[in-house]
């Protein structure tokens, strides 16, 4: 589904991603871990099509399409979803209105009629249950004055609404309380099927107890320096990153 080959990307002349290779197949969950500043969010942003980053070389193909050729909104329409590490506030626009606009844009792209009000509200109700989000929150200005946890939950609600094929969750667990973490993780799990895939960026093993990864990658200094199964996350939790850094510098 997603194939990243030798991806190099920089911002303001500084190279952040230094040759990323990653293959994601339908039905898989990939976890990306790594120290602060190693380039995890950068990778997520480049996948989502943020223009501030310059891709100097490499390829990204997504379901046979050259992702780098597409605008950010076109990628979203093709099914790429990014749950932001720091969700953005849009004053005066409710989550409900935002989702209605987004959903209908995506439907239009697929050649579908816009959803009528009744079906839309029905869908909202169903997805609200999935992440146990409060109606009142959705009627407020998007992310404005939301608590850290509410913002993250709202991101997953949006993911549920848009039903993407590739979801990238950038530190969705940070800021969530213990119950919220379980609820949100369960939501993500319920949305999982054989045709979609998830990339979770996280610092903590805790989330991976709920969302069990098929692969764990360690990103360090702009490169994936180690890949393993779910037990790698446990090892990192116990030992930290120093041994990985050492291995990487020897190599």
């Amino acid at each position: 589904m997603l194939s990243i080959k030798n991806l190099h990307a920089s911002i303001e002349g500084k190279e952040i991603l230094k040759g990323i290779n990653l293959e994601v197949k339908p039905g898989e969950v990939h976890a990306i871990m790594g120290p602060n500043g190693s380039g995890k969010s950068t990778l997520a942003s480049v996948l989502a099509g943020r223009e501030d980053y310059e891709v100097s070389s490499g390829e990204i193909s997504f379901n046979g399409k050259d992702l780098l050729e597409l605008e950010a909104d076109e990628r979203a329409k093709e099914g790429v979803f990014l749950a932001f590490q720091y969700p953005i506030e849009i004053p005066g626009v409710t989550t409900t209105n935002f989702m209605k606009t987004a959903l209908n844009k995506i439907r239009e792209h697929k050649g579908l009629e816009p959803l009528d009000a009744v079906s839309f509200l029905g869908m909202m109700k169903e997805k609200m249950k999935l992440v146990e989000i409060d109606q009142a929150l959705l009627s407020r200005s998007l992310n404005e004055g939301f608590s850290g946890g509410e913002k993250k939950r709202n991101e997953i609600f949006q993911m549920a609404m848009l039903e993407p094929t590739l979801s990238i969750l950038d530190e969705t667990d940070s800021g969530l309380d213990i119950d919220a973490l379980r609820i949100v993780a369960n939501g993500v799990n319920k949305l999982k099927n054989d045709d979609n895939a998830t990339i979770v960026v996280t610092h903590y093993q805790r989330l991976l107890d709920y969302i069990v990864p098929d692969f764990v990658h360690v990103l360090f200094n702009g490169k994936i320096v180690k890949t393993g199964g779910k037990e790698l996350a446990h090892e990192l939790e116990a030992k930290g990153y120093d041994w990985i850094k050492e291995e990487a510098s020897i190599a």
Partner: protein, 481 residues
Amino acid sequence: MSKDDQILEEFASKEYEHGWTVDFEADSAPPGLNEDIVRFISAKKEEPEWLLEWRLKAYRNWRKMTEPKWANVHYPKPDFENIIYYSAPKPKDKPKSLDEVDPEMRKTFERLGISLTEQKRLTGVAVDAVMDSVSVGTTFKKQLAELGIIFCSFSEAVKEHPELVKKYIGSVVPSNDNFYAALNSAVFSDGSFCYIPKGVRCPVELSTYFRINAANTGQFERTLIVAEDDSYVSYLEGCTAPMRDENQLHAAVVEIYAAKNAEVKYSTVQNWYPGDKNGKGGIYNFVTKRGICAGDYAKISWTQVETGSAVTWKYPSCILKGDYSQGEFYSVAVTNNMQQADTGTKMIHIGKNTKSRIVSKGVSGGKSQNSYRGLVEIHKRAENSRNFSQCDSLLMGDKCGAHTFPYIEIKNKSSQVEHEATTSKIGEDQIFYCQQRGIDEESAVALIVNGYCKEVLNNLPMEFAVEAQKLLALTLEGSVG
């Protein structure tokens, strides 16, 4: 180049949607202005002597006046000798009912999305449509008449209700108030008149649509709204004009009189032709709008969405004379390309315990200039008066300008005046966030701007709000390539 700058660069105008002209046989005055033209207009409209005298007096005053220069707008002075001051679409015979209105003209209004037919009954809007200088038909008249409400063209009011017109015309905006008000008083051709008797709540929104059609014509409509004690009315005004290379002048006057405990809501969606990308053509919109809360507990609320015109100069104001009276001004002004807007309000607190609220949202893109200019004046005897002003500017790039000129004059110590102002740039991260959800850049800009203006848009009557939102999106369209 950052994305903001690109938006700015590519803030190309979407073709003006309402830009087409219709050929009617026009019955018009020769260009230029002198006493004979004033007499010609008055005679055409079969006006009484007193009104002709009133016009002539205004004309003589106007001759002595000079154009105001203080607004933050720059444009070549209109050639007043080259303007046609009266142009009536010439119907074969005067229509007696809506069914007889010239089908061409009705088609025109239908293209504008205004149906003059009784279909409007369903939407609950009574419409008076003014094209160039003449009012072409008023829906709902009979139903309104049963309540004692008068809603008709200004000319008709002069004929049918001269005592009311005589009593109130110029009572809020004197004919020598300012250069353009004086000009309007001399040559005004038509407009709407609305009278709500004591204790009556007008059950429908009253609405007027203006359209400039003929070339080189100025449009000088005059609106007068009188709300007697304990009455209520919501009034809507919309406008469009075809695309033309030359600048056309629009100098309207609106007067609102609100008696004791009366409430008048006046909403405008102004969409005159803004000129092309390079600033060629477009309407000069120099308008004087003012309301007086003459009685205690009266309330006047102005809501405006300004997206059109090459140059706008407009300050809908409230004179809060009655004790406990209230004035409100909610404004969205969007400028793009080469447009210039200098708009705001005046809140004149005279009565005790008067309250006013100003919410202004300026959105500028392209190389446009957008100024808020507002005056809050608290008179000596206006004890315990309050004003709150919020002026926000949103910039779509760095070649446009946003300016705020708040003037505050307080002569009473027990009063309270608050002013807040913000200026921000449309956020790249907001646009990216929208895009990441599948919303293209252009729609994202429209969505963000609509959200930004929500407080004002929420004040519009429902169906107008929808229209206004579409209009904002349209004005902002082409902002990305």
